[in-house]
Amino acid sequence: MAGPTDIPVDLSAALVAAPVPVGHWLVILPVALCIGLGAILLMLRNRTEWHAVIAIPGLLLLVLIDAALLYRVASEGAVTMVMGRWLPPFGIAFSVDIFGALMALTAAIVALLASFYALGEISVSGRRYGFFPFLMMLLAGVSGAFLTGDIFNLYVWFEVLLISSFGLLILGSEPQQIDGALKYAVLNLIATTLFLVSVGYLYAVFGTLNMADIAMKARAGDGSAPLTTLAGLFLLAFGMKAAAFPVNFWLPASYHTPRITVSALFVGLLTKVGIYALIRVLVMLLPVERAGLGPLVTVIAIATMLAGVVGALGANDIRRMLGYIVISGIGTMLAGVALGNADGLSGAIFYALHSMVLMTALYLLAGQAARLGGSFSLAALGGLYRRSGWFAGLSLVLFFAISGLPPFSGFWPKVVLVKAALATGAWWLAATILLAGFLTMIVFGRVFLLAYWRPAADGGVAAEPITWQAALPLLALSLLVVGVGLFPEWLLHLTQAAAAGLEQPSAYLHSVFPTAGGAQ
């Protein structure tokens, strides 16, 4: 803040004199690795045969790093690393709690498997367009957004992932892609600009950009600042990113145009970053204002769930249908945010993780279904069951999981959410979650009936067999879905810890300000 201060500021205490502990480098390593690999791949832009050889082991390393980070955070609590040796709130901090580490790990797994799928799908020309460098930069942005502890940094990482997503979206430059990309680009850019506006106001109110510092000051606030308006702005900006109801129309307009690997990556990573930021800002930074906006978020959640699933019922193209299903899933996560208690948040986080894995798997599945059946249109597809029995079985597993049927991963978060909703007396929220699940079941039941059981039309295109590059990630993703469905306790335990950490962020605050409460 400008103006004379009468509090003496001891700057020597703000400068870290000790070297950074080795373990703390884990916090920044995912981002550094992705940017480094992206730069190397860019330098090798003429040697596209090297791209996959470098990118896939790099992504494997990223998964291992994120797993180590999650292990460390789960066993020792939140970790913070500051840049330039300036302690918060002066320096820029990277703070990781269980929530961020879980999301980052899942994102890395999804990206690894999707890049494996890309081996079979992204052709030489796609690689020359820069698929793998863009992928690494996208992951740098996504990991950065999950791990940063500074709200302006969050904006910067949003922009990093946004510009890489533009590149991926127009891979191939077909008219359809350019049309979809224009809508996606303009609307997402407006959303990030709105986010920047909110960050500006937040700085004007609190005079700090460090999330932990803001969380502390907002809790100790005198209530004179227009924080509810600010929370509403954040809700609009992140809701647009996540494709929540009134601002969701860009998603089905653009997500079906790119290559199937790119769509799969986008549904796995991008909308979930929006939900992550929404939970982080509304629940951790502005909890009082979230409670005030609760009824509005409830309405948005219900509308998003229903709008998504009704859109899916009316779609003929499988990819467009999946786009609407993504929107419906966002509504389910928003239901958890609307509840706002530890149980609701734990359900929302669990659902977000499940959705990242499952939606990616479903898009990859749609890609292979189109290879087998020769079309993305439900009206034209047919006879997939006869063409590949195991593929049909696998599809059924994923269809059950998305509808929330046991024993697959979609069941548990819905149980948690419905239970949490009923416990607070929000029966309308519980009823909508169940209704949306039921309608989703109808959507996918119809897909199975038409595309798998129905005999293929005469003179259909010759089926292309499923490649191993596609089968492997599909099997791995399904294994995750079944594994989490059968043994949900460990993940449930982690998401509950993550939700508790968001509700009572004392551990997070303590990691940023070790001299507990001694900020400034």
Binding site: A2, E159, I163, I178, A315
Partner: protein, 125 residues
């Protein structure tokens, strides 16, 4: 001074929103350019509009002894300018390419990804 500043920011936002509501992509791009500048000005006010004194602490003192400019919003604006500039460049190229490929700059006619006549899924077996 503050009132004038607030009025200018509001005017910028109004112009940006007016342009972005247009059907034509080039006007939308101009709206986005103005929106970026409106946000930069807004970030500037977030650090309070103060005299243009650099925040340098006098020799021997431990705090600033007079009102000074807040350097942080300026750093933020610099970042935001770089980002919005690169985005605008990308969007302009994309718009031009869209105009070449789709033969129109009217978003009402850009219906390649979402055609007007979308078939419904089959109702019977």
């Amino acid at each position: 001074m503050e009132a004038v500043f607030a009025l200018v920011v509001g005017l910028f936002f109004a112009a940006a929103i007016y342009l972005m509501l247009s059907k034509f992509t080039i006007r939308i791009m101009l709206g986005i350019a103005i929106l970026g500048n409106a946000v930069n000005l807004l970030l500037f006010t977030a650090g309070r509009v103060t005299p243009e004194v650099p925040p340098i602490i006098q020799k021997g003192a431990s705090t600033l002894d007079n009102a000074a400019a807040n350097p942080l919003p300026q750093a933020l604006i610099l970042t935001a300018i770089v980002i919005s500039f690169s985005f605008l460049a990308f969007l302009l190229v994309l718009t031009y390419r869209a105009y070449q490929d789709l033969q129109t700059d009217n978003t009402g006619e850009m219906l390649v990804a979402e055609p007007d006549e979308r078939p419904l899924p089959p109702l019977g077996y």
